[in-house]
């Protein structure tokens, strides 16, 4: 069977050379091609469609929330329980099931193999299983809407003891399904994450050194590392809470009387849950932000026709942010009570994160400086991101300080802050990325006019929604309240402002339907894009076919000779040199060419 000469060396583990570079599980039927498919690109699209579908549910919930806040008492079908359930599910879906899944499952799956120059992920079957596990998690989550009592209304942070005590909406089936769904999501994500990490580290094309990787891949890679280390905290917390709820242990539940009844718990610590939750929760912000940072860097460079400013600094800033994000979690718990020295420590680490983040923002601005800026739709969304992220980040500096956070905690200032920095900013990047890569995924361009309308309505609309919330926070308006009633400290102007915000929110939501319409119609009737409509340098634009087929590249895998940012190279004929063009094949500019300087 095998020759006895095979020794203990590593090569005896390697498949024989005649098997070729990688065995691809090619699809032979409709089912293996589109449903149980092992091609990362199809899995990516499956992720995007599922995430978008559940994201639209969360969008609808946010409109219901706004209807209640903007026009209290007008809609009789919105009662206080429903309101809390909508707030909870909106938050959880948007953060975990939409943003995380879209950035890592969607863009990660599509871009990692293509940008690294490999045929597919290293474990395609596991990758497929990852999507189906994610879909199961989403279905379990959706099922919680239909159980008696409805979904949980504990707030997306699910703090015990309130989340599993009588009186909270959805304390029966709702919270159980929520926790089970999170556990399934984490298991599914781990399968995908294994793929992303190993593919980036192990399967890159020849010549694709770490420092030639596009920043998109750096962002997705580091975010995956964060997620793999942080999601277990949520898993532990979810399992312990399920034990408390179903089996009667007292991990988190103190001795308490609920609705006049002594409950069987004793001695548990709600603070323990908060520590575990935020040990996941804070890195989660960066799980969403790091891929966004990476994508913005690449889209900016491409559409400004300029190399990214300070590439190495950008990589180290990403690494620094990733590392620091694990030592700031307790800044979410200033008002939960803690040793003042800890508050000081966590405020300091929080403010230190501003340094690498500021480096990134400056470098984006300096990339645009003297660039040949093309105000395409992806570029517009990137610029929108920069402003929004800056504004949201600055209000974060306020909240990172204990003394300022205490009066502002649980007010609309917090809602305004995290929606700017963590909702609108990453969503802007998702839009930029979709407008940027849609031509590669489908072979057709999105409609430009609709894209610009979409951008302006979304940008101005979200500012109209979230900017006023900061003022409401200063006024002391608390968040998560169903209605405010007669209070001495909330002026009438807040009521008017709430109506204004609600109208703006509805307009923004409607604009998103135009975007979806654009995506569907352009798929059939969009202008033919060609292989490389943006004249980009990265490998996904150099594929043999558009859209790329299973296996991504032609018979030969690409060889990489340069970094991803050779735009406007002096003396070259074209203003971009793809990563797989060897130095000796670069066309020189003739005397009449504009680049000949």
């Amino acid at each position: 069977m095998a020759s006895p000469s095979l020794g203990h060396d590593a090569t005896s583990y390697a498949p024989p050379a005649e098997l070729g570079e990688m065995e691809l599980p090619h699809a032979h039927s409709f089912i293996t091609r589109y449903i149980f498919c092992q091609d990362a690109k199809v899995i990516a699209i499956q992720y995007v469609i599922t995430a978008t579908a559940i994201g639209l549910v969360a969008l609808a919930l946010s409109i219901l929330i706004r209807l209640q806040l903007g026009f209290p008492g007008t809609f009789s079908f919105l009662d206080p329980s429903n309101y809390l359930q909508y707030v909870t599910m909106h938050g959880m879906i948007m953060v975990v099931y939409l943003l995380t899944a879209l950035f890592l499952g969607g863009f990660g799956n599509y871009l990692i193999p293509l940008m690294c120059g490999t045929r597919d992920m290293v474990f395609p079957w596991l990758n497929m299983l990852s999507f189906w596990t994610y879909l199961l998690a989403v279905l379990v989550l959706v099922a919680s809407f239909f159980v008696p009592g409805g979904p949980t209304g504990a707030g997306w942070t699910l703090y015990p003891p309130q989340s599993i005590s009588p009186g909270t909406p959805g304390v029966g089936g709702g919270i159980i399904l929520m926790l089970v769904s999170l556990a399934i999501f984490i298991i599914g994500f781990t399968m995908g994450g294994l793929n992303y990490i190993v593919t980036v580290l192990q399967a890159r094309a020849r010549g694709m050194t770490l420092m030639r990787l596009p920043l998109t891949i750096w962002g997705i890679f580091l975010a995956t590392v964060l997620a793999m280390l942080a999601f277990p905290a949520l898993l532990v917390a979810a399992l312990m809470m399920l034990f408390d709820l179903l089996l009667g242990t007292s991990f988190f539940m103190p001795a308490m009387i609920a609705l006049g009844e002594q409950r069987g718990y004793d001695g548990g610590s709600p603070l323990l849950f908060q520590h575990l939750f935020w040990f996941f929760g804070h890195p989660e912000v960066y799980i969403v932000a790091l891929p966004a940072f990476g994508i913005v860097s690449d889209v900016l460079a491409t559409h400004a026709r300029r190399n990214i400013f300070g590439y190495r600094m950008m990589v180290w800033a990403l690494v620094a942010i990733a590392g620091l994000s694990f030592v700031v979690w307790a800044h979410h718990m200033y008002v939960s009570g803690m040793n003042p020295y800890f508050g000081f420590l966590f405020a300091t680490t929080t403010l230190i994160i501003a340094v690498p983040t500021a480096i990134k923002v400056y470098n984006w601005v300096l990339t645009l400086w003297q660039g040949n800026i093309k105000l395409t739709v992806p570029m517009l969304f990137c610029i929108g991101f920069m402003f929004t992220f800056l504004n949201g980040g600055l209000s974060g500096l306020f909240l990172g300080n204990v003394t300022v956070d205490v009066p502002l905690a649980d007010t609309y200032f917090v809602v305004g802050h995290f929606h700017m920095v963590m909702a609108v900013a990453p969503i802007m990047v998702i839009f930029a990325a979709i407008y940027h890569w849609y031509p590669k995924v489908t072979g057709r361009m999105l409609n430009n006019t609709m894209g610009k309308i979409h951008f302006w309505v979304t940008l101005l609309g979200t500012y109209a929604v979230y900017y006023p919330m900061h003022y409401m926070g200063f006024a002391g308006v608390p968040r998560r309240y169903y209605a405010y009633g007669e209070t001495a400290f909330i002026p009438d102007s807040v009521v008017t402002l709430n109506s204004f915000i609600s109208i703006a929110a509805i307009i923004v939501a409607l604009a998103q339907f135009m975007f979806i319409y654009n995506m569907v119609v352009s798929y059939f009737r969009g202008e033919e894009a060609g292989p490389n409509p943006w004249d980009a340098t990265t490998l996904e634009w150099q594929t043999e076919h558009t859209p790329p087929r299973h296996g991504n590249f032609g018979p030969e895998l690409p060889v990489v000779y340069r970094w991803a940012y050779d735009y406007g190279v002096p003396g070259a004929k074209h203003d971009f040199i793809p990563q797989n063009v060897p130095p000796e094949k670069v066309e020189r500019a003739g005397p009449g060419d504009p680049q000949a300087r």
Partner: protein, 222 residues
């Protein structure tokens, strides 16, 4: 959280050192033709399967470190902690798991020399010992129950049930991989495939043995 932070610091320290080595003194903007051996790539010994297992083990370690952190924090935060009377059978179980790990190491050695006569019994013994270990853990649970230490009685007992069942679940997952390896051996798959499977199983079992020793120490410590 101290336990978790120490683990993370070690892990991040190693990764950071590696990343810095890869990225310092590199001029990314210089275009050049890659040589025949790519120095930036991982050594040939770091195959996708091995690296994948290493990443998985890092995630599992993170998971159990967080469980351990919760264990210590709950011990400090509540005033109701009563140290657990550790059932004696756990010592015997530990020994059985050591046997399982040892048997799989022998299977790995046999696979490297491609000695099928030694590979099959060693692999079988590894799986059998693991099943005995899980059964032994169930006996330990039964003993605790009959001694009146129920799941809800005390946080120390709750953690015992939680952590041991999570560890057993990870062993069951390992058994699924072990069954796949058995099928491969029976089917007579290509040698490199069998080698990889046996190797991954052996490493995973060593890891779970270490994990169990850690958890057992933790339970004794309280």
């Amino acid at each position: 959280m101290r336990v978790t932070l120490i683990f993370l610091a070690v892990l991040l320290g190693i990764s950071l050192a590696w990343i810095v080595r890869q990225t310092i003194n590199v001029r990314p903007w210089v275009a050049e033709t890659p040589g025949p051996s790519a120095p930036d790539h991982l050594p040939a010994a770091v195959t996708a399967a091995r690296l994948g297992l290493a990443v998985l083990l890092a995630v599992v370690t993170s998971f159990f470190m967080l469980g351990t952190s919760a264990y210590f924090m709950r011990m400090e935060m509540g005033r109701d902690w009563i140290p657990l009377a550790v059932p004696g059978i756990l010592w015997a179980n530990t020994l059985v798991l050591v046997f399982a790990s040892f048997a799989l190491q022998r299977a790995w050695n046999a696979a490297r020399r491609w000695n099928m006569d030694k590979l099959r019994p060693a692999l079988l013994a590894g799986g059998a010992c693991t099943v005995v270990f899980i059964a032994g853990q169930a006996v330990a649970w039964g003993q605790l129950q009959s001694a009146g230490h129920f799941l809800t009685g005390n946080p120390a007992t709750s953690f015992f049930y939680l952590l041991t069942s999570l560890h057993a679940l990870h062993l069951l997952g390992g058994l699924a991989a072990w069954m796949r390896t058995m099928v491969r051996v029976r089917r007579g798959d290509a040698p490199y495939k069998i080698r990889v499977s046996v190797e991954l199983c052996a490493v995973y079992w060593h890891f779970l043995l270490l994990l169990w020793l850690g958890l057992f120490g933790l339970l004794l410590y309280n």
